[in-house]
Amino acid sequence: MAQVKGRSTSKKAKSASIKSRKTAAPPKGGKAKSNGSGEELRAEAVTVVYPVKEGDDVHALEKVSLSISPGDFVVALGASGCGKTTFLNLLAGFIKPTEGRVTLGGRPVLGPGADRGVVFQKHALLPWLKVLQNVTFGLKMQGIPQGKRRDMARKYIDLVGLKDFEQKNIYELSGGMQQRVGLARALTSDPAALLMDEPLGALDALTRDNMQELILDVWRETHKAIFFITHSVEEALFLATKLIVMSPRPGRITHEYELDFCHRFFECRDARKVKSMPDFIKMREEIITIIRGDELEGGNIHV
């Protein structure tokens, strides 16, 4: 029953390869056009070196390769400082790799763009705009007329449950609501890939659980390629179709797992049941052990 395939690029990973049923791709939504749907986001042997004034340069990433196809939900886990945010910035096009390259649908990524939506840890909304205007901001930038903008945004505002808050100011919303506006904003531009850097880190446990289910539903419906960073092992296991574990100094991917806990959730719609399955717990302990090892090495005791 356990659909766990471990591929290891480091000696200490045990090969937990159990025969894996190729998880059926979620049903394709009849998406007409999007900002490049159906395109694969790839990082090919990317290295990022931050120059440091004194001492050795920081190798934030060392020859990291990863491909994210439409319908993939890739979650990155790892000790603090292992280069997760750096990797996301690379995919988003905010920084360019020292070596290697990033491509989307075969074309090199030369900067940020509407084909890769980003959800930030701190919502990064524009406080001078109302909720609706924030959500339609991307469409406005792309020159879509106002009436149409509104119609396109409504769907996602409903989806994240903010229907009654369209005309509210950002600073009148709670943290969880602001985060949902950030998600709706990224979705409304209909990007091929969605990049999220600890988007739920600041939320309480209950809101966080709800948001996880929300993100899964959105993903299933839109069939996007998602790259998601988190510090919560449970969250990572629950959401991911592909889980990558990264280690610091130099930043690299040490373990990759194919998972299907999210599909089990779609079957039973009971998150707590999925999270208390024996193989879920087993995986959780295994990954915590790996990350704890990295954190201890770095002199960082708490996990």
Partner: protein
């Protein structure tokens, strides 16, 4: 004794309570510096100063200060009425006031028109920054009275020279605050806009300019304040019209009541302008300090 509940008893505890409020009311945030209403205290302070003026100058009480140095409130009021109706030096108070307000307003509009775009350009482009930084940083700390003679030599004694002097006083704070405003825009907001498909120009207009707005308005407020500060210097030479000119000529003839009256009028107008700017600030950037 650092426990808040134990502070009340002692004298210093009570004293401390004047300066440190208890838990915040809903809508306020605890520990925010200087929260609470100070209107009552402000009114008391103003009345106190006025009372002191009245007591020391009113003849019925045996004036402690000679009218030459400080005329009584009644005398100043009489002067106000006579200048308002009959005028001083062939100009009524309204004409003096209009001349000054017009100068300040024109200089203010020009300073905003140049100062805000230049500040934006300096903050977002190293060429502009390199180009404009030396002249602005050099003249900024100079007192307007210092370069007044130069403006006379260059621009003569007409209206232009007065506008130039006022413009220079207002220009620097607007540039500086615009730059500070651009720097205060969160990088995440800029990143988010680019990821939503915004172009460079769109980011500049829709994110950076909007995000810098609170500081830009502060710059305009400070600028107009500097304008009023520089008014008397600007109207020092070769003009009969204007509140500054009125004060200067009254001082030459030792008409202290007109001097005081002029000062009070400038003070009241400048303060009204500031209130107006603050009102505009609340309307335009209601989100200031709330994110």
């Amino acid at each position: 004794m650092s426990d808040a509940t134990h502070r009340e008893g002692s004298f210093f505890g009570r004293l401390g309570q004047i300066f440190s409020a208890g838990p915040a009311k809903p809508g306020d945030s605890f520990g925010a510096p200087g929260v609470g209403n100070s209107t009552t205290i402000a009114i008391a302070s103003a009345l106190g100063i006025f009372f002191l003026w009245w007591v020391t100058t009113t003849p019925a009480l045996g004036p402690m200060v000679k009218p030459l140095f400080l005329p009584s409130p009644a005398e100043v009021w009489d002067k106000f009425v006579s200048v308002a109706t009959e005028g001083y030096q062939d100009q009524t108070l309204a004409e003096h006031t209009f001349a000054s307000v017009q100068r300040i307003f024109i200089a203010f509009v020009l300073a905003a028109l140049f100062g805000i775009p230049i500040g934006m350009a300096m903050a977002t482009n190293r060429v502009f920054r390199g180009f404009f930084d030396p002249p602005i940083e050099f003249y900024r700390p100079l007192p307007p009275l210092g370069y007044l003679p130069l403006t006379i030599i260059w621009f003569g004694i007409g209206e232009t020279q007065k506008l130039v002097l006022l413009f220079l006083a207002m220009f620097a704070p607007m540039v500086l605050n615009t730059r500070a405003g651009v720097r205060s825009v969160a990088i995440e907001q800029i990143h988010a806009a680019y990821s939503l498909g915004a172009s460079r120009a769109q980011v500049l207009w829709h994110v950076i300019l909007k995000g810098a707005m609170p500081e830009i308005l502060t710059g305009m407020r400070i600028g107009i304040g500097f304008g009023w500060t520089t008014l008397v210097a600007a109207e020092l030479v070769a003009t009969e019209r204007g509140l500054g000119a009125m004060i200067m000529s009254a001082s030459e003839f030792l008409v202290t009541s007109v001097v005081i009256m002029g000062i009070v009028v400038i003070g009241i107008i400048a303060y009204s302008f500031d209130l107006l700017m603050r009102w505009i600030e609340r309307k335009v950037v209601p989100w200031k300090g709330r994110v």
